[in-house]
């Protein structure tokens, strides 16, 4: 998995870091600055003993260019606070945040506004649309505040509205739209400024399950077109598995594990992580590469791709005869291992037993 061929989705290493957080803390309590040393480190002994709340504790991670990075945690785990620290909607207590080559913590108010206008987009859980503005008025807001003329900004807003599939609704007001449509407006607004990095704060949590599924598909469709760098917050592990390249799991303000869905399922760092992964059908996250054995002979019933999940190749595998073995090939079409049909059958029955 070292060198990525062009056009492939980047994995955990290799791509350049777009956003980089180091030792970020957000502490609530009296006289927080006194907890923080000259080098930005937190006096943890006093933090533990005092009457402080660590909404974010010592979070360090990198988001790579073009990656979908999902931060998953239950309510109160600090995931939304962490997201707002990355945009400095909330001022972190200490830590370093680098966005592209810039030090976000040192950015002035004016620089921050400039970055939000041109480089960042954000989608909110409850849509956060202005009720007094029509769809086009809401979507054009980020362009309007940049001082772009009416004709141009409306044309650009219209393009984004088309992109999210709301063409023909541009004169509607938010309350005339369904929840799913309103969030499409929220998405369009966040994309209007053509951001480099896209923050989504539980964007589909307020929607009905069926609509949520539809919006996730829509999100994946958009990402296939746009290739944005994404930080996506959710409390829904299924959603995280479905959308993420990598997932960071948060609990009580701290990140307890970062990894691909496959890594989390195969090697959960703690019991807490394992509990989340238990309900997940293994076939959905495990790739053929994770299950393959050494090559023993050359009598293969077919081929499977090493880095693609078992689920998508399931039909071919199960339709083969009992005892069949599949060749596992990598991105360069080299055979790297063998996958016996019985291994997959065993995996499926094991996850059924769990349920």
């Amino acid at each position: 998995m070292s060198d990525q061929p062009a056009g492939e989705r980047p994995q955990s290493t290799g791509a350049a870091a777009k956003l980089c957080c180091k030792h970020v803390w957000k502490i609530f309590g009296d006289d927080v600055p006194s907890l923080i040393g000259a080098d930005g480190s937190v006096d943890e002994a006093r933090f533990e003993s005092g009457d402080y709340i660590g909404a974010v504790r010592d979070a360090s991670f990198e988001v790579h260019d073009g990656e979908t990075f999902v931060i998953m945690g239950l309510s109160g785990s600090g995931k939304s606070t962490l997201l707002r620290c990355m945009t400095r909607l909330i001022e972190p207590s200490t830590g370093e945040i680098h966005f592209e080559s810039e030090d976000l913590m040192q950015a002035s108010e004016a620089q921050l506004i400039d970055m939000r206008r041109h480089k960042m987009g954000m989608v909110f859980q409850h849509f956060a649309l202005l009720p007094n503005r029509s769809v086009i008025g809401n979507v054009a807001l980020p362009l309007e505040v940049q001082g772009i003329g009416k004709a141009e900004r409306e044309q650009r807003a219209l393009d984004v509205i088309k992109l999210v599939g709301l063409e023909g609704r541009e004169q509607y007001y938010p309350r005339e739209l369904s929840g799913g449509q309103q969030q499409r407006v929220g998405i369009a607004r966040s994309l209007a400024g053509e951001p480099d990095i896209w923050f989504l704060d539980e964007p589909f949590s307020a929607l009905d399950p069926l609509i949520r599924r539809e919006m996730q598909d829509e999100f994946m469709r958009l990402q296939n077109v746009l290739h944005k760098t994404i930080v996506f917050i959710t409390h829904d592990f299924d959603e995280a598995i479905r959308l993420a390249d990598r997932i960071a799991i948060m609990k009580d303000g701290a990140i307890i594990q970062i990894g691909t869905p496959e890594q989390l399922v195969l090697h959960p760092a703690t019991d807490y992580v394992e509990e989340f992964t238990q309900g997940i059908p293994r076939a959905k996250v495990l790739s053929a590469g994770a299950l393959m054995r050494d090559v023993d002979g050359d009598n293969f019933a077919g081929k499977v791709h090493a880095s693609v999940s078992i689920e998508t190749q399931l039909d071919a595998i199960l339709n083969a005869d009992r005892g069949a073995v599949f060749a596992v090939y990598d991105d360069e079409y080299n055979v790297v291992g063998a996958l016996p049909r019985e291994v997959v059958v065993e995996l499926l029955s094991a996850s059924q037993r769990q349920e």
Partner: protein
């Protein structure tokens, strides 16, 4: 298991015992004090030698401000005169438009250059506004209200009043919004602002009429300035609240869209808060109208002047007609501004409409104004409603009062005397016999018990202030009138509220009555009680009850209605009767909210009490009123601050209790 059950109640009973002990001690000390009255006279009557001549100092400061304070380039007096001139310009313009017409020349030599807006055009315009804001029903209501003004010959006075309202209201709204926005932005400014607002909303208006009078002179302008000072604080508060309550996500969405602070304010915050801000606008309108009569004491003229003159001369008929005119003006403006605030949010258009399609109401109005101006040249009745078409009911009201007094005088009189002798006078005597030291201590203890030692310290010091400035006796009389009025208002109001909460039809009827009562300017309440009971404490108390009863009804109704439906269902499911439901579930849960209603009732009672000084009570309000007639700044301000302190003491104590209780019940 059983151990735990036994040990649980103990801490609770222990803390209860401590308070019972303290209160027992307090009562004991008071009784001992009262028995040894002869040896400790200072504890009963605050010695004159210890008094602080605060009133004198304030008056001296005021004199210095007006006569000697020099700001370098100009004096303080120049500054106030300048301000007055600034407010006067738009006022003159509006008054010319509505009332006098545009004149050239001065005094009786003046020649009308251009006529005022015809009454017909103005009524038509307001009706169109009503239709624009809601529907034809509202248009008819507004038309009816202003029609009364024309038919009953109140038009000229009403236009003078309306002109000052039209100027005072926007200044109050903009000023209030500005202060609110500043308070929202800066924590430090807010910390200064909020105590000032508390004081401004509890100090009786009369108290600052005197300084305004001295600074700006006897004129419609100073009346407007007093009106603005009176009507602005709620707008500041509403703005603060409205900005605070915008969903955090919306503000964040604005920031993430790249708004600068100014863009955030204009493009995100204010539009999102618009609906809540309109509530403030409505309040400013209503408070300005409430000030109409009081403002006429320092030169407002118009309807307020008519009412005040009628009241002073006891010409009931004229007073009722002018008072009704203010009320109808208030109702019309209230309904208009409410309807405007509640206009449905916009819907999309299929096709962009033409200019005349977008503003049909404005267009029709302009046509009518033009027509009436043009035709007015040939038909003077269009400009001025002819006197021969007017009607008056003055004689009817006079006769009615005469009839009541001839036929029911004895009944009314004995009712009044019975209550005075058996309830009011004994209670007053009791309060006056209490040593002030003990009352201060009790107020402090109460504050401590309800809201901690800080609150106790605050309430005790505020009470001590009243003694120090030498107004203790008058404050006790205030307490007696206000206390009785509030208790009676609760005895009547709570049952009505409960009934309204349980019966949908009654709820609607009561709602309409309360809404109407709340639009009446406070002065209007004086007229019927004076007609029936003449001047004195009893009449004053009735007026206070009538004025202050609305919040207790509203809060009781609201408190009971907003108990979670699940709880009511659970109570029904275990088989409670309606009576059990009421006293085991609804009342206990609604009590914190009801107490907030009591608090509001107390606030309104105190503000009304000051106005009843006109019908001859002898309490703090009278002190303020006397100061007004003598233009004695210090005396008025000190007495006014004492009223405010009484209000603040009760507000803080009830507020502390209610919020603690709500927390305990998990209602917040």
């Amino acid at each position: 298991m059983s151990n735990a059950a036994v040990s649980l109640p103990r801490p609770a009973s222990l803390t209860l015992n401590r308070w019972v002990l303290l209160w027992g001690l307090m009562i004991l000390v008071t009784v001992v004090l009262m028995m040894s009255k002869e040896s400790l006279p200072w504890a009963f009557k605050y010695p004159r030698a210890w008094q602080l001549p605060l009133a004198g100092w304030i008056s001296d400061f005021m004199k210095w401000l007006i006569n000697s304070f020099d700001l370098g380039l100009f004096t303080f007096k120049d500054l106030t005169r300048g301000l007055a001139w600034l407010v006067e310009q738009p006022y003159t313009l509006v008054r010319s438009l509505l009332s006098t017409g545009f004149l050239s020349g001065v005094g009786s030599d003046a020649v009308q250059v251009f006529p005022r807006i015809s009454w017909l055009a103005l009524i038509a315009g307001l009706m169109l506004l009503g239709h624009y804001a809601r529907d034809w029903k509202l248009a008819l209501l507004v038309g009816g209200c202003f029609g009364y003004l024309v038919v009953f010959g109140q038009w000229d006075s009403a236009m003078v009043t309306l002109s000052s309202i039209i100027i005072a209201v926007p200044i109050g709204i903009l000023g209030g919004m500005l202060l609110g926005i500043l308070g929202h932005r800066s924590r430090g400014f807010r910390m200064v602002l909020i105590p000032i607002l508390d004081l401004m909303q509890t100090v009786p208006v009369f108290a600052y009429l005197v300084p305004v009078l001295l600074l700006f002179g006897f004129s419609p302008v100073s009346a407007m300035i007093a009106t603005i000072i009176y009507a602005m604080p709620p707008m500041v508060r509403v703005t603060l609240l409205a900005l605070e309550h915008i969903s955090a996500e919306v503000v964040e969405a604005g920031s993430m869209a790249g708004c600068s602070r100014r863009q955030l304010l204009w493009k995100v915050l204010l539009p999102s808060a618009k609906h809540s801000l309109m509530v403030g606008v409505n309040q400013v309108v209503m408070l300005s109208l409430n000030m109409v009569i009081i403002a006429s004491m320092i030169g407002a003229g118009g309807l307020g002047h008519d009412v005040l003159t009628a009241l002073r001369r006891l010409r009931i008929g004229e007073g009722v007609e002018a008072g009704l005119a203010i009320t109808l003006l208030a109702i019309a403006l209230d309904r208009l501004s409410q309807a405007y605030a509640n206009r449905p949010p916009p819907m999309h258009h299929t096709r962009p409409p033409a200019l005349w399609q977008r503003h049909p109401h404005a267009l029709v109005f302009l046509v009518i104004v033009g027509l009436t101006w043009a035709l007015g040249v040939y038909l003077p009745a269009l400009n001025t409603y002819p006197e021969s078409w007017q009607i008056t009911t003055g004689a009817f009201w006079g006769d009615l009062v005469k009839y009541i007094n001839v036929n029911y005088f004895d009944t009314l009189e004995s009712f009044k005397n019975f209550l005075l002798l058996n309830l009011m006078v004994p209670f007053k005597r009791f309060l006056l016999s209490l040593p002030w030291v003990a009352v201060v201590a009790m107020v402090g203890l109460g504050g401590w018990q309800l809201g901690g030692w800080r609150l106790g310290l605050l309430t005790a010091s505020l009470a001590t202030f009243i003694a120090i400035v030498g107004l203790w006796t008058k404050a006790m009389v205030t307490l007696y009138l206000c206390g009785l009025a509030v208790v009676i208002a609760c005895l009547i109001g709570v049952p009505i509220g409960i009934l309204a909460a349980r019966n949908e039809r009654l709820h609607r009827i009561v709602g309409v009555i309360i809404d109407t009562l709340q639009t009446l300017p406070s002065f209007v309440y004086l007229m019927p009680v004076v007609m029936l009971f003449r001047v004195g404490d009893f009449a004053a108390m009735l007026a206070v009850i009538a004025y202050a009863i609305t919040p207790i009804i509203r809060y009781t109704d609201h408190g009971i209605r907003h108990i979670p439906g699940e709880l009511i269902e659970a109570a029904r499911q275990v088989g409670m009767t309606r009576g059990q439901l009421l006293h085991k579930v609804q009342l206990p849960l609604a009590l914190p909210h009801i107490m907030l209603g009591v608090n509001q009732t107390i606030m309104m009672a105190l503000s009304m009490l000051v106005i009843t000084a006109l019908v001859g009570t002898r309490e703090l309000g009278q002190e303020v009123y006397i100061a007004l007639t003598k233009a004695d700044t210090g005396r008025g301000v000190v007495a006014g601050v004492c009223v405010a302190f009484i209000a603040i003491i009760s507000d803080r104590m009830i507020g502390a209790w209610a919020s603690r209780r709500k927390r305990e019940l998990g209602l917040e």
